[in-house]
Assembly symmetry: D2
Homo-oligomer: 343 residues x 4
């Protein structure tokens, strides 16, 4: 059985486990102030062309989103995001649990636009009863989105300009950032650093056991950020586990190669789905694919493959999600391509 | 200038001020455990045919909604309500500030249906990733709604049955309850007591200076409820001010007559709007009317009348809100009717 | 029976009720942006010699404390206060309900010192694990304190200097401010405005039905403050009720005279207690007195007087609290003095 | 340099890394519903003699404490604990960030007594103003405590009885549970399961890379507990990492042997400290020792050893903390014993 249902079904890239084993009996201070974390910080600063960047490591995505958002907003503020955003749909209200409303904007493909943000702000400012309404204080994007789509450099730049014009914090959730960087080369780490107040490089879905590296360019947000990590339960006692993993992922570009593997394997799969004439629910250039096969085909594939159900489209068709990942092999893809061809 | 923009532009019914003046130098214990509050509690229990009802008094609506909802929900739960619900739109995120997500349901007229609630629960229970999603824990309705519409006894009964089947707390915001009771006689206080876990009789918009009387039928919610009032800043030091007002409103039916005045004056106005051929944005039988006059007419009316703007409908028409209230006079209505006739 | 147990047993000064009656049928906008509130704001700015002060009106003390504190702190910060502070003891965890820890400092008389604040900050900054500890972000004082004691201008100035040196917000709870101003004349409204970031003039305990007037000198805290009031449930629909009351209290010094009445009546009582040889639990120059009579005396007084029990001191003595207030009459005091003399 | 400053300076027991490596490329479902987690659950249920126990895995201690406490309390409730409790001192206000006050009880050695809990409840219930005070809703203990001390079975039984009598949830923080079980054999896992509503077996400090296994006996608390884990950011995507580690720790008693190693090495050290005549700040039978050496001795030891400073005791003496752990070796202990002997 091959599992395509997510990009975190396996453990980690073997080199990370080797590094964890090699460093296992080192004695280091806890909580992410050890040499491994510092070296990983340095690598990220270099990659972002940002020697002054604040870099902190957390364990998981929901934890990171909650910590960043609660740190940035004042109590009466909320966070603008796509209706389909992870923080709006799949975090059991973690953002609201910190007191902040998520302010959803309509989106067909998981993305929002500079114009939508501007309109939301103009509408708020024009409302004579605005003190009775949550004030937008932040924009949250995912790159790639939950739908696998990506922003271009121009789109992100436009959003960043609106955010700065209206005093909004811009936050990019990069849980799958390596796949986005591989698919849309106009967006780079230095550009993200320049445009955002804060973003993160996701490790959990790109070859690490766990771990998200938060990069903060806004000094007001960076101040005391480690207190917030501790308060939200995200300060790992053996913080060096995060440092060791990001060191290994970043010291020679492994992170980016793993992202490329996910995207390249997805391209092969995508071609195979389209060869079967399946419509694609979203036009994703990254490692998540959303074909809409006939249910009869799905039934046959189920002998050897597992995927996740997205939504029922009509009586005989279902949109499904197939994820490739950092560790998808040629053999796995060839098997699925062959099974599709045999339908 | 006559203000029609809301139903809380004046102070209170003169009899309430007289009662406050008459009792002013009495010495009573604070925090709502005095004789006036107790007598008001007794009157409400009688009116609800519910000798065992828990009754508490708070100052305002947002405070009441926040206190009730935060008292009823566990941390991972949210509250289902119409997209247009007051808690979703006009409380600066007060519900979210207590940690709970508002779960909006689509609504054209401010109401939601038993079927919508049932579908939301079925969708949640059928979701294999439901632990990543906020669990609905409560249904919040307004009667009347923000759009002036009302529920029938049958509609409320159906919603109540669904709530009980799925373990949802049912909460009716009665900020304008007297207008709802006057407009839709199938809904009565005893019925509300039977169907809901908790509801309130709004005073602020029906002749009191301020004050909302919360009636709780669910004993688990009633337990320790006064701690919640205190914690949320809603426990008035001179609580007897609430008792004196509700005593006066309820001892001889004044509350209900004030509601009837609002509805009757609105009926006259509504006839006048319709005589002019204005469409009505919502079909409201209560004290809020939403005509859509030509902008040219509004311009002329502005010499003598104030209303609130609801939304621009097209280039030359605007939906507006005219509220009558407990103290709208025949003379005020006649003036507006005359001014309309003269357009 | 004469109630000495608190200073909010009666309604309000008759002139306030007259003003409420006189203005009752005026139509005004809601939520505190009417002419009465604006006039009251102007009077407060004049009294504080602070034309630029932000002034807002809330209904009660717990609500005000919660709103101010949650507005001023970032999530990882807490508020330093005397162990006996109202926010630490008698608000059902309202501060914690907004996510912030109350950081109590030992206090024998309800007051804290500049040195204590400085030591707390130095200890925090010197702690190598300080990211695991709540960061002090504010100092909360009451003037007078819960024990009836007051700060001198020198003491407040010293605390203010420490707060500014360490970036702490200074907040003075003035629920009984008029009594403090009457008792300790070195502290004035202009001085409070200069030394604090925010303080309030309490109305509930000094002749109003309800109402606290918050004065904010720190522009960063003033920004968007009305959103916070709404979010915490403190924005009164008929906000003009607060404006009318503070207008009346402040336009000719009534507020200060009411404070003086409380203090003067307390002085007479205090002399009588001391004439009986009762020790005083705290050395209070304001309207709250804490004598420690023999229980046998209390038993006899109970025929005609009510007070509140503070704490059992030994087998035969109890510290009790007697409050005078804005409306304590000569006759009431004479009765108690006579009853004491007769013991 | 040998680090004695904490018990989480190294990675994990080599067998855990081997198991993680062996299972690394398995494809499993995420979020702790895989076979490894289920097997670990089964082992814990067996060890607790509790086939019906709910068992969930979280990453770290602060996260676990926050998730459990926020799940158990209603909004107006707080948690009783020793003044020195981890949740009161070293979690950056994580508990308060969920809205709940920590209610500290005085403690000289990190422990609290059944009598203290009973008195706190009696005082609360006897207080006529108790609705203005946070209601105790839970008792939080650590076993061992932050001071290394342990409860006996009798002490825990007495606390559990008081908790049940007053409806308090009993929660035991077992971050260092293996050391407690090794030191005080009257307390066993089945006993903890019977006495507590919830407790946990800490992995982070006993041989795991990270991980805490929460055991819930109270069905009301167990209901929907996984929603809380997700909401608080504690649901690890690759949950099987927790399962694999606890499987390995528990399948043949490794967890308990690691606890014994910590305790035995500590006993040798303790004898050496006492041979030098150092007073012990706390009488700890577990893996944390708190000797009070002369500062001159500390200066000499600093060439080869690192510890943490507890508190300055007098001008020439400092209480310090030396921790042994699951991986402290005979050689390390012998080195320190020799260095002590040479002073």
């Amino acid at each position: 059985m091959i599992r395509w249902e997510c990009d975190y079904a396996e453990g980690c890239h073997p080199r990370l486990l080797e590094a964890l084993t090699r460093t296992n009996m080192e004695q280091t201070p806890g909580y992410g102030v050890d040499g491994h974390c510092d070296r990983a910080r340095g690598l990220i600063r270099e990659l972002c062309h940002a020697p002054q960047a604040a870099v902190e490591f957390l364990v998981g995505g929901t934890q990171t989103n909650t910590t960043v958002i609660a740190a940035a907003l004042r109590p009466h503020q909320g966070v603008l995001c796509a209706q389909t955003g992870h923080i709006n749909c799949h975090e059991t209200g973690a953002i609201e649990s910190t007191g902040h409303k998520v302010l959803p904007l309509p989106s067909a493909d998981g993305k929002i636009t500079a114009q939508q943000v501007q309109q939301a702000m103009e509408a708020h400012l024009a409302d004579p009863t605005r003190e009775h309404v949550v004030q937008p204080g932040m924009v949250y994007l995912s790159h790639p989105t939950e739908q696998g789509t990506v922003y271009t450099a121009d789109e992100l730049t436009a959003i960043s300009q609106v955010c700065r014009a209206y005093g909004l914090t811009l936050f990019v959730d990069g849980a799958r950032l390596a796949y986005g960087l591989a698919a849309e080369t106009s967006v780079t780490l230095p550009l993200l650093y320049q445009l955002c107040d804060v973003f993160y490089l996701g490790g959990t879905k790109v070859g690490a056991l766990f771990g998200e590296a938060v990069v903060i360019s806004n000094p007001a947000l960076a101040q005391d950020f480690r207190y917030f990590i501790k308060q939200r339960g995200g300060m790992l006692a053996k913080g060096r586990l995060l440092g060791v993993q990001f060191e290994t992922l970043l010291e020679d570009g492994l992170y980016f190669r793993l992202g490329q593997n996910g995207v390249e394997q997805a391209r092969k799969l995508s071609a195979a789905f389209q060869a079967k004439g399946y419509p694609m629910r979203y036009d994703s250039p990254t490692n998540q694919l959303f074909p809409v096969p006939p249910d009869a085909h799905l039934e046959q594939l189920a002998d050897r493959h597992v995927w996740s159900v997205w939504e029922k489209v009509d009586e005989s068709h279902t949109a499904v999600r197939f994820c490739t990942s950092w560790c998808t092999t040629d053999a796995q893809v060839e098997q699925l391509v062959a099974d599709l061809a045999g339908l």
